[in-house]
Structure formats: structure tokens, C-alpha cells
């Protein structure tokens, strides 16, 4: 097989190997002759290795591996041995560079192998969406087994393996989804609850110990009185208010229920940053109070709340705020099981526009899953927080009146929660599984019908056999005979379907068709999993069944429809998460000391990780040019990021396109917080990481990870204070220099962005701690470097201009990645032709993203097995 393949390779690109061999005789060969031949040459062959006559073909794996082990020895510093003649750094690093580059290239070709797409297991994203399509219930992707991170994307069948863990996990999660989908019970009553900060809730200032809020509340009554007195906030009648007042106030809501606060689940609400000031440090972190609530408070003990859509309405406003500051209400949703802040999974931020005297009403909707089986989400909780963006400094004015005067505050005067709201009953999910039962249908016939149609739909192109269906029916019947209800008994057979190979593999029939075209139905499936990570919809299947999808015009317009459909966001997410490795952000701790409230920090981090995905998605939907990834006149941000970047906020919750003001540095990928954060340790920037990112993602030249066992440079730091001086040490060691002379000069272009993506013109001195930095100051940021072609730049603007010159290389690399994702394999020599065609078409069409994706989906390669 390998022999055959290398023949193929040689025929296809006759020039390639001779070029490699030519460079070999210019670089590696003389090196071997000077430094290796004495021990590994004609006279001596230490360790049975002779290098002078080892051919440098790199056409088969054996040869590649042979040279790889030579590179390993050189990289690890084992060779040349200590007592032998050693090369100069410059000579050594160019040899390492050449050898590494040649090996990477040839490995890429050898891995490609020219094979078509391998059958693959559904990845996490596919599985979750496919189950959603069948049951209307979403299994959180994180609860599914982790897919391995290979050299290609998570669409590559060769990486997606199967284990008993997968099997059991699929079955139990599927059961849970089915249970959630079926609703034979009566429509749940819509419950409404009004939280009133005075009478309905505890109102207590938090107690503090070393600046940290203590959760235990003591001396409730006296604290409350003292608190109200101190702040002179119009809550004088607080203690005299009774529950009835709340009921009266909520007016029409006859079934409104005033909550008895479950102990430990609910704290307090409103008022002032006072609580976050400590005696030693009179600075607040801007966060005001928090309301932690569990919706279980809405129902009586013992009964359970129903899954569904819940509506939140919060009436609030700010007071005494510094005009340069901003006030927010943040709603954090999460899992109540652990009852701690760390379980909040996401925050939605709404900027407050109203003062407390004329408060505004904020309305948000959440889908809440109340079931608590097998490790899925349990009781949901909400944190409602009010906070200022900036730290609050204690001013002399505030210190007056016993230190409690004129504090900025945010007040929440009313919170109403209602739900579950259903558009229809039984919900769509139920009807997906249980269609209306015809009056005279026996149970067996009815259930057989259900199981059969569920299996048929689940199995996509491969219909289930009678034997299989019979076996499922037998399992159902057995459970019925044991006394289980119809809806309980059907969980097992349906969940088996969702763990069967015809569902979990995207299988394509072995076709005798000489050209190897897959069937139209299979094409529909491929398209849908490529662009939606989901099964095809009815329209696409209909076109396939009526033989119309093969019409190039129909195909192209369908691809366009798929791209414009909202489901393609799943493609944007899946692709960008892997292409740019944005999940790395979660690994970064951002110890920004007191700069922002912890909530805000968490939110900024989360939004930063999403920004590149929304950016890609917007470019794809609007069919903009890929050049926007290098520099753009717009960003796609949410309220949190807009605020963080100093842009005008889009207002509504979620991401939207915002036009950048002139001279804003935020355009393109390199202006986005995600990369500044990945390229930092939270305090200092890491120009090397940033340089490596630019080199591999923008310039399109991936570099291998640092070879193992190279000692980290740990030189004496005296006299070396800036990042640039430190990094210059890389060139002192050939093993480092071979890559870093390409990487490091690119890292300086982004130095104006601090470790946490704030614009800066000075940098802190490297060897100092955060505290020392404050005290001792900093140096002007170094922003000049050079590109791989030798062109020099100074500052971000010039850097971006230079990067734009690599537009073509960038596009080529991105197209390769898109093809790799679409075909589910590593790109090898067999795909070179396709990539070439795609790239030249893209160039002629201003590198428009949606057109490129569409070209890939319509290509012949995408349609053959």
C-alpha cells in the first residue's frame, strides 16, 4: 500500500521531491559531512546508524521516521556529543528548521493517503443535535463523552472511537431526553411569583470578614434596622410591611405567591457597595449585592416545578452613580446542586439606563430544565446581581456622615418570575414521539408504529430490520408486563435506538457506482452534518428523494439556504472552536486585581471566547471577504464586550454587529480579546504565543509545538527587564531559534494590547510582581518587529497592513481547514487539486466566505465516497 502510494506521489508532484533533495544537498548534507560523518559514516556506524548514504526522499513513513529520530536527537541536544565539534547557532538552527519543515510537509502528505471520507461516529455536537431533532430535547454537549483532540477536526472518523463508556452514556442520556420529551400529564399551571425586596425577602447587609462576604446572617433584626438607618434609603416602612401589601401591589396576579425564603438559598437584594468596603482598603470592587434564588421556592414543599420557559421581569434603577461609570444587572443561570457561585454557567448582562426614581423593567426569558436524574442539570438557580463596572473609590464626600454618604447604589424594587409558559400543549416534543392515537388502534399497533417511525428517522439512510424492531417491541412488552406505564416502558426501546450503530455512525452504502458518487440522500445527510451538525430537514430530504438535489443549481441554492438557516451557527461554533482553539481561554486565569468585579471578569472571559465564533458567523452569513479576519471595520460583540472595548453597546442581550469608530484598534481577529488573553498569563503579555498565533493562523504557517525535553531558558535576569530582552534569549539556542526566529518578530505587533486586552502604551517591567509594578512603574511598549518576508513594521496599524499582504496565504490555510472539516479527514496530497481550485476561485471572488463554503459543498470530492 505504501509503495503504491509513494509511486502515486512521485507521479503527481514530480518537482517536489527533487526540490527537497536539492535543498538537502545545500543544507543538511554539508552539515552531516562536518558534524556526523565521523561516527555515522563509512568508517564507523555508531548505534548502527549511517547518515551519509541515508536517502532523503521522505516518500515513505520508514524514511520519514528515520529522519524524525535524527531530528529528535538533535533537538534534545544529544548530538553532536559534548566532546565533538559543534556547529554555530545560526548554522545549526537553519539545519533544524529545514529538517523540521521537510518532515512536517511530508507527514502531511503521508497522512492524507488520498482516501475518501471514512464512516464516522457522531461527535458530541452531532449527537446532541440529532437527538434534539428526534425528541425536541437538548442533551447538553458537555455531558457527552469528550471527543479526542486529534490533528484534524472532530468530524474525522479515524479519531472518533467507540467504547463501552460511550455506549452506556448514550443510552442513559437518551433515556433522560425521552423522559423530558413525553408529557401525558395535564398542562402545568403557570405560576407567578413576586419578589419584593422589602417584605417578601430578607433584607440584610452581608457580614464581612477580611473583605469577604460571610453567608451566615446573625442578629438579623438589629442589623436590618441599623442598615436602613444608615442609608436613609426610602425604605423606612420596611419592617411594618406585610405580605398582604405585596399581594395588593401585584394586583391582577391573583395566583401570585409570596415566598418563604428557603434557608441558605436566598440572601438579599439591593442596596449599596458599602458591604464591599473593608476597613483597610477603602475600595470596592463594584459589585453590589446579589440575589440568589432557587425557583423551587415557587412551589410548596414536596411538589416539583415543571420544565419549560420562564419569564423574568426585574424593575430596577441606579442612583448616585459617577457619570463615567456604568451600572448593570447580571442574571446568572446555573445548577443549584452545589449552591455556590462557581456553578453559575453563564451571565446575561443588561446595562441600566434608568435612575432609581424612575426605574426600568428588564424582561428576560429562560428555558429551565427541572429534572435531576443522571448528572444532567438539576434544579436551576439564578443569581441576580447589580453591579458597577468600575471600582468605587471612597471620596471625601462619601466619608462624611459616618462614612456612609452618597454611595452609588442600584435598587431593585420588584422581581417577578412566571412560568412555565408553553406555546402548545402537549408540547411539540411530545408530539414528535407520540402522534395522536387513532381511536380504534390497539396499544401494540400504536407502539409498533411509534417505534418503527422513530427508528426509521433515527437511522437516516439505513432502514431498521424487522428482527431489530421485533426485539425492541419485545423489550417494550416485557416492561409493560411488569406493570410499567406506556410512557415509562417506551424509554428503553427508544434509547436503544439512540445507541445503535445505524444512529451513531454516519454510514454510507458501499456503492458499485464506478465514479463513487454517494446517493442523493447520503449527500443530504453529509450537507446537513457539515453545515448544521444535525440531520437534514424534510425539505432537503424531499429534494434528495425526488432526485433533484443532483441538479447543480438546486444543490447550490440549498447550500445557500443551509448557510443562512440559524442552525449553521452550530457549524460556526464547531469550526471556530477548533480552528482557533478559543476554548483555551477557559484555561487562563485572569487575576486582574480588583479591576473588575468577579462577575464581570467571568462574563468578559466568557464573551471573549464567543466573539470569534460570532464574528465568523456574521462574515459567513453576509458573505463578506476573508480579509475581514485580518482587519475589519466592524466587530461582533455583546453588551459586556462593547463596554469592555469602550464601544457603544448594542443594547439587546446577545451578540450583534457594531461598526467601529475610525482609528479603533479592534478590527480583525488580532483586535479581539480572545487572542490577547490566550497570548498572556493574565498579568504579562506573551508575545511569543501571540506571534505563534499570527504565524499559524493569519500567515498560515503552522509551527509544531515546542519539542519535548528542551530546557526552558532560565537565564540570569539581571539587566533584562522587558519582554523583548527576555525573548531575545531564544536566539541563543539553536533548538529554539529554528522556530522562534520566525515566531518572535511577529509577536510585537500586538503589544499595545495588555494581557487582558486593554489598550496600553507602557508595559510593566517583567521581573516585578504586580504590587511592585504599581510602585515602580513601567517602560514604553515595544511594538516593532518584522514579517517573515523581512518587511519591518512599527505599531499595530503598520502590522495589520503588513498582515493584509498575506491575505492569500491566510485564505489558503483557512480553506484547507474548511475542507478538512467538511470531508472529515486530514488534508493530504490527494486534496491538493481541490484546494488549488477552491483557492483560485476564491481569489477571483474577493475571498468571500459563504461562496467558499458553498464551493466546497458543491465540489465533486464532497459528493464521492
Amino acid at each position: 500500500m505504501i509503495k503504491l502510494f509513494s509511486f502515486f506521489l512521485a507521479v503527481l508532484i514530480p518537482g517536489a521531491s527533487s526540490a527537497a533533495e536539492m535543498s538537502y544537498s545545500n543544507t543538511l548534507k554539508p552539515f552531516i559531512n562536518s558534524y556526523c560523518i565521523k561516527c555515522h559514516g563509512p568508517s564507523k556506524q555508531k548505534s548502527n546508524l549511517r547518515l551519509d548514504n541515508l536517502p532523503f526522499t521522505l516518500k515513505d513513513l520508514a524514511n520519514v521516521e528515520h529522519w524524525q529520530s535524527v531530528l529528535d536527537e538533535l533537538n534534545q541536544g544529544n548530538m553532536p556529543p559534548e566532546n565533538a565539534k559543534h556547529p554555530e547557532v545560526e548554522e545549526f538552527s537553519s539545519v533544524l528548521d529545514f529538517l523540521m519543515d521537510s518532515l512536517e510537509k511530508s507527514k502531511k502528505n503521508l497522512y492524507g493517503k488520498g482516501k475518501g471520507t471514512l464512516m464516522r461516529r457522531l461527535n458530541k455536537r452531532d449527537y446532541s443535535n440529532s437527538v434534539f431533532d428526534l425528541t425536541g430535547v437538548k442533551i447538553p454537549e458537555d455531558s457527552l463523552p469528550q471527543d479526542p483532540k486529534g490533528a484534524s477536526f472532530d468530524t474525522d472518523g479515524s479519531n472518533l472511537f467507540m467504547s463501552s463508556y460511550h455506549f452506556f452514556q448514550y443510552q442513559s442520556l437518551a433515556k433522560k431526553a425521552i423522559r423530558d420529551a413525553i408529557h401525558f400529564e395535564n398542562k402545568p399551571e403557570v405560576r407567578r411569583i413576586v419578589f419584593h425586596p422589602v417584605a417578601g425577602l430578607d433584607l440584610v447587609p452581608l457580614k464581612f470578614k477580611n473583605g469577604v462576604a460571610s453567608k451566615t446572617l446573625q442578629n438579623y433584626q438589629s442589623n436590618l434596622k441599623a442598615f436602613l438607618k444608615k442609608f436613609k434609603i426610602p425604605l423606612k416602612d420596611a419592617l411594618s410591611m406585610k405580605d398582604q401589601n405585596v399581594k395588593k401591589k401585584s394586583g391582577a396576579n391573583t395566583n401570585a405567591k409570596t415566598v418563604k425564603v428557603p434557608e441558605g438559598l436566598m440572601h438579599n437584594v439591593i442596596i449599596s457597595p458599602w458591604a464591599f468596603f473593608t476597613k483597610n482598603n477603602q475600595k470596592g470592587n463594584g459589585m453590589i449585592e446579589r440575589l440568589l434564588m432557587s425557583l423551587n421556592g415557587m412551589v410548596d414543599k414536596g411538589s416539583q416545578l415543571s420544565t419549560g420557559m420562564y419569564k423574568f421581569s426585574i424593575t430596577c434603577g441606579y442612583g448616585n452613580m459617577d457619570p463615567s461609570d456604568k451600572a448593570f444587572i447580571a442574571i446568572g443561570t446555573g445548577n443549584a446542586r452545589k449552591k455556590s457561585f462557581s456553578t453559575v454557567e453563564k451571565y446575561d448582562f443588561v446595562e441600566l439606563k434608568a435612575k432609581s426614581k424612575k426605574p426600568q423593567e428588564i424582561v428576560l426569558e429562560y428555558y429551565i430544565d427541572m429534572n435531576n436524574d443522571i448528572g444532567l442539570k438539576t434544579d436551576s438557580i439564578f443569581h441576580i446581581k447589580s453591579l458597577f463596572q468600575n471600582p468605587i473609590e471612597m471620596t471625601p464626600d462619601m466619608k462624611k456622615n459616618n462614612g456612609m454618604n452618597n454611595f452609588p447604589f442600584i435598587s431593585i424594587s420588584r422581581i417577578e418570575v412566571s412560568g412555565p409558559h408553553y406555546k402548545e400543549w402537549p408540547p411539540a416534543s411530545h408530539k414528535k414521539i407520540f402522534p395522536t392515537r387513532q381511536g380504534n388502534l390497539s396499544e401494540t399497533t400504536y407502539i409498533r408504529k411509534i417505534i418503527t417511525s422513530f427508528a426509521k428517522k433515527a437511522f437516516r439512510s439505513s432502514p431498521p430490520t424487522d428482527k431489530y424492531l421485533k426485539s425492541l417491541m419485545a423489550i417494550y412488552q416485557e416492561r409493560r408486563d411488569e406493570g410499567e406505564s406506556m410512557e415509562k416502558a417506551i424509554e428503553e426501546p427508544l434509547s436503544i435506538i439512540l445507541a445503535s450503530p445505524s444512529f451513531i455512525y454516519i454510514a454510507e452504502e458501499n456503492t458499485d457506482n464506478k465514479l463513487g458518487y454517494i446517493s442523493q440522500e447520503e449527500l443530504a445527510i453529509r450537507l446537513a452534518y457539515f453545515l448544521w451538525s444535525s440531520p437534514p430537514d424534510e425539505r432537503l430530504l424531499k429534494l434528495a428523494h425526488s432526485n433533484k438535489l443532483k441538479d447543480p443549481k438546486v444543490l447550490r441554492s440549498e447550500v445557500r439556504r443551509l448557510i443562512l438557516d440559524k442552525r449553521s451557527f452550530k457549524f460556526s461554533t464547531g469550526f471556530v472552536e477548533q480552528w482557533l482553539d478559543v476554548n483555551e481561554i477557559a484555561q487562563r486565569d485572569v487575576p486582574v486585581p480588583r479591576k473588575f468585579s468577579p462577575v464581570f471578569k467571568k462574563a468578559v472571559k466568557a464573551s471573549m471566547a464567543k466573539e470569534p465564533i460570532h464574528f465568523f458567523d456574521t462574515i459567513m452569513r453576509t458573505n463578506y471577504s476573508l480579509s475581514n479576519f485580518i482587519d475589519s471595520e466592524f466587530v461582533v460583540v455583546d453588551n459586556v464586550l462593547a463596554n469592555y472595548y469602550g464601544l457603544s453597546a448594542p443594547g439587546k442581550v446577545g451578540f450583534s454587529k457594531v461598526k467601529l469608530p475610525r482609528n479603533s484598534p479592534r478590527g480583525g481577529l488580532v483586535g479581539q480579546g480572545a487572542f490577547h488573553l490566550i497570548g498572556s498569563d493574565g498579568v504579562h503579555t506573551k508575545p511569543i504565543l501571540r506571534g505563534a498565533f499570527v504565524l499559524s493562523k493569519i500567515i498560515g504557517k503552522p509551527t509544531p509545538p515546542p519539542p519535548e525535553n528542551i530546557d526552558m531558558i532560565d537565564a540570569d535576569l539581571v539587566g533584562r527587564e522587558t519582554a523583548k530582552e527576555l525573548i531575545a534569549l531564544h536566539t541563543s539556542k539553536a533548538q529554539c531559534a529554528s522556530c522562534h526566529r520566525k515566531i518572535d518578530p511577529l509577536g510585537w505587533g500586538l503589544e499595545n494590547f495588555s494581557a487582558i486586552s486593554k489598550w496600553r502604551t507602557v508595559e510593566p517591567l517583567k521581573k516585578l510582581s504586580v504590587r511592585d509594578i504599581r510602585a515602580k512603574g513601567s517602560l514604553a511598549v515595544e511594538t516593532s518587529g518584522h514579517m517573515p518576508n523581512g518587511n519591518k513594521y512599527k505599531g499595530l496599524e503598520e502590522f495589520k497592513k503588513q498582515l493584509m499582504g498575506y491575505k492569500h496565504q491566510f485564505s489558503e490555510a483557512l480553506i484547507e481547514d474548511l475542507v478538512s472539516y467538511a470531508l472529515g479527514k486530514r488534508i493530504g496530497v490527494a486534496d491538493e487539486k481541490l484546494v488549488k481550485i477552491l483557492v483560485s476561485r476564491a481569489k477571483a471572488n474577493d475571498y468571500k466566505l459563504a461562496s467558499i463554503i458553498s464551493d466546497i459543498a458543491c465540489s465533486k470530492t464532497f459528493r464521492i465516497k
Binding site: 482516501k115 464512516m119 452504502e509 484555561q587 486565569d589 515546542p706 532560565d714 517583567k766
Partner: protein, 424 residues
């Protein structure tokens, strides 16, 4: 069900082992005088502290100063061996943490696959020793929580990671039962589980007929999985007849995290050894939540990249390594204090390897590695020993431990001999 026989034939056809040759024997050896030797593989991600804080800088044999991080091990100094210059020579990159720590696989050079591993030493041992016990092996620890890209310490014969358990209650119930289910119910449950397997097997056979040969190879993974589960069920069926053992250990309380969780797991490993639930254990120790408990701000990853430029990170690294060693020392204390039927201690009858897949940052040479336990009296501890280049492979250590626990093999992965110094 009709297809059950058919599937059994399929299982036998591919040479799967369905019989349990040692099962009958096990009941009788149970009370015999010589306790079994158990293998315990412990690992954690992200290495240790440099600058002489974990590795002794000088000395040899028992003449060395126990470094700062391991101060709690001082009292056991005579009872463990501290390796210097031990590595997995074919680790790919410094980013794989513990992926091939106990498999010693060559991660990068496998044709046509971007990732490949091989069987780990505990799983190989389990194949030989598993027939004596209810569980072939017990795999603990969960991915995430500071484990980096490592999926598990334990990899099965087809090089699939085995998902570990990280919930002490679940582990307790598995080993000692929660007492709420009757035998008849458990039998019925097993029969039902089998009919599920029978059903998916039907679909696999049907699918296999339709797809190409290349895809069929992919589908074989599914068959392999069915086969593995079937074998487990087979064993479960046999063991149903025997009541789960009792233990003196109290059932762990709900929601243990960080240090308490790790302690509970160590205690359960010991209880499992006493009850002879299994003889092969692996535990990927989760360090992240423990870090947080100790008030350490940074991530495990950042801490592993400590250097003298950043003494704060070095201090954090020392903290976590010290705590980790204290827990090991406590485990050794407990093992020593339990007397087996023949008067020897549990410590005498086990072999515990304690190691991490990286040293510092990306360095994968000279791994942190400690061996403790007397291996049924077959092991002679050496204090601090430096291994010679050429024979300094992790696989040689594992070959030694495998042979010591009674596995008849003369090689493991890339081994080229046992570590003779360790043998009595």
C-alpha cells in the same frame, strides 16, 4: 432470545475468552494463608517542582536528604525507591501529561493515525489477576480537574481510555453494595441489560452488510465494544451468586471535594484491597479543586511552567506537591497498619507506583517516580537510585511490577529488561 446464541458464537469465533478458568479456584484460595499482591498505579498531571524541591540534588541509596516537598515521606524513607533518570523515551511532546505514563506507548509514530496508545500496565495485570476478583480492575479519577489532555491512566487492550470513577459513594456501592436490591432483582436486571446488547448487535450485523470494507473496519470498533460488555456481563452473572463483601469503612458522605475526596478514594482503594474486590487499581489524582481549596490562584498548567523568574509560582508548586505527598504518606501509614491473615501488612503485599507524565513544563525526561510497597516480599527498596541510560525506561519498571504481582510476561511495551536492583 434467539440471537443470543448467535452472538455468543460470534464472540467465540473471534477468540474472546468467555470462560472464567480461575473463578472456581478463587473461592478456595480466598482463605489461603498467602495474601495476594496488588498493583496500584497512581498518577497526576503537570509534574513537580524543580530546583531540588522534589528531586534530591545529591546523594544515593538511603544517604540522601528527603527534599522539601516530600518531607512527610521521611518516616517511610526505608520503604520506597526514588528513581532518578527514568523516562518514557517515546512520549510525543510535552503536552500529553499522563496519556502514556502507564502504557509507555510510542504516541506519535503510528501510521495513518494521529493518535494511538496501547494497553496500560494495570489493565495487563487485570487480564491475569482479574479472574480472582469481582472486578478485573478499578479505575479511578476523572478527566478534567487539572489533568490536562490526559483522558485516563488506564487504557484497554484496544487502546481506548477507560473512564475512571470519581465519586466515592458510587465506588463504595459498587464494591460493597447498597443492600437495597435482591438477588432475583439483580438477575432480572442483568438479563435485561443483555437483551439490550442483543438488540444493538442485530443492527450492527445489518449495517455491516451494507458498508464498504474500510468503513467495516471502523464498525469493528462497535463489535469489539459489544464483545467487551458481553464479557463483563458474563462475569457479573457468575459473581451474582456471591454476596458482596462487608467492610468496616463507613459509607462516604455526599459531595466530597478536593482533599477530602482524594482521602476518601485512598481509603476506598484500601478497603477494596482488604475485601479483595480487585487487585489492580489506578487513580488519576485530581489536583485542581485541591489547589483551589489551598487558596492557590493559578491553574495547574501555569504552575507547572514555573521558573526562578516567578517565585510565586514556585511557591504554589511546592504547596501542591507537598500536599499530594502528604496524602500518599497517609495512605502508606494506613497500609502499614492493617494486618492481613498471615500477620503481614497490606503494605507488604502491594506495589504502589506514584508518578507524573511530565517533570516540569514540557520536560518528559527524568520523570518524578516513586515505588513503594513490598510486593509480597519480592521487592527490596533502594532509596534514591539513578538508572543507567539505555535501561532507564518506565516500561522496565512496569515489567518489574507486573512480574512481581504475578503476571508471567517477559516484556511490556518498549521494555528491555527488569530493574534488577529492586528484586530481592
Amino acid at each position: 432470545m434467539g440471537n443470543t446464541l448467535d452472538r455468543r458464537r460470534f464472540l467465540q469465533g473471534v477468540g474472546a475468552l468467555l470462560t472464567l478458568p480461575l473463578f472456581e479456584a478463587s473461592a478456595s484460595t480466598k482463605k489461603s494463608s498467602k495474601p495476594p499482591v496488588r498493583m496500584i498505579n497512581l498518577g497526576w498531571a503537570y509534574g513537580v517542582t524543580g530546583y531540588g524541591k522534589w528531586f534530591p540534588e545529591t546523594g544515593s541509596g538511603f544517604d540522601y536528604k528527603v527534599p522539601e516537598c516530600l518531607a512527610s515521606m521521611e518516616k517511610h524513607k526505608k520503604d520506597f525507591t526514588y528513581f532518578s533518570n527514568i523516562s518514557n523515551p517515546f512520549t510525543a511532546g510535552g503536552h500529553n501529561t499522563c496519556t502514556n505514563l502507564y502504557t509507555c506507548a510510542n504516541l506519535k509514530r503510528t501510521t495513518g493515525r494521529s493518535f494511538h496508545n496501547s494497553i496500560s500496565s494495570d489493565q495487563l495485570a487485570a487480564k491475569h489477576l482479574g479472574a480472582h476478583t469481582r472486578f478485573d480492575s478499578i479505575v479511578l479519577g476523572k478527566r478534567g480537574n487539572g489533568t490536562g489532555p490526559c483522558l485516563s491512566l488506564s487504557w484497554d487492550e484496544s487502546a481506548r481510555p477507560i473512564q475512571g470513577m470519581n465519586d466515592p459513594i458510587q465506588l463504595y456501592n459498587q464494591m460493597f453494595g447498597d443492600g437495597s436490591v435482591s438477588l432475583a432483582e439483580r438477575k432480572a436486571l442483568l438479563r435485561k441489560k443483555r437483551s439490550v446488547l442483543d438488540t444493538v448487535y442485530l443492527d450492527s450485523k445489518n449495517l455491516k452488510k451494507k458498508i464498504s470494507r474500510a468503513d467495516s473496519v471502523k464498525l469493528d470498533e462497535y463489535f469489539e465494544m459489544v464483545r467487551k460488555i458481553e464479557k463483563d456481563f458474563e462475569k457479573e452473572g457468575e459473581w451474582l451468586k456471591i454476596a458482596k463483601p462487608k467492610t468496616d469503612l463507613k459509607k462516604p458522605v455526599n459531595g466530597l471535594r478536593g482533599e477530602k475526596n482524594i482521602k476518601a478514594m485512598y481509603d476506598l482503594i484500601m478497603a477494596g484491597m482488604i475485601a479483595d474486590s480487585s487487585r489492580c487499581f489506578s487513580y488519576l489524582i485530581p489536583i485542581y479543586s485541591m489547589l483551589k481549596e489551598m487558596g492557590v490562584e493559578g491553574s495547574s498548567h501555569a504552575i507547572s511552567h514555573h521558573s526562578k523568574n516567578n517565585m510565586a509560582l514556585v511557591a504554589d508548586s511546592i504547596k501542591i506537591n507537598t500536599k499530594n505527598a502528604e496524602l500518599l504518606s497517609r495512605f502508606i501509614d494506613n497500609l502499614k497498619s492493617y494486618k492481613e491473615s498471615d500477620g503481614s501488612s497490606l503494605f507488604d503485599n502491594c506495589l504502589v507506583t506514584y508518578s507524573s507524565g511530565t517533570r516540569i513544563a514540557h520536560s518528559v525526561r527524568d520523570l518524578p517516580c516513586i515505588l513503594t510497597g513490598n510486593g509480597g516480599g519480592k521487592i527490596k527498596h533502594q532509596g534514591y537510585i539513578e538508572l543507567e541510560n539505555g535501561s532507564n525506561r518506565m516500561s522496565n519498571l512496569f515489567l518489574t511490577t507486573l512480574q512481581t504481582v504475578g503476571v508471567k510476561t517477559d516484556s511490556f511495551s518498549d521494555s528491555n529488561g527488569v530493574i534488577k536492583e529492586l528484586l530481592v
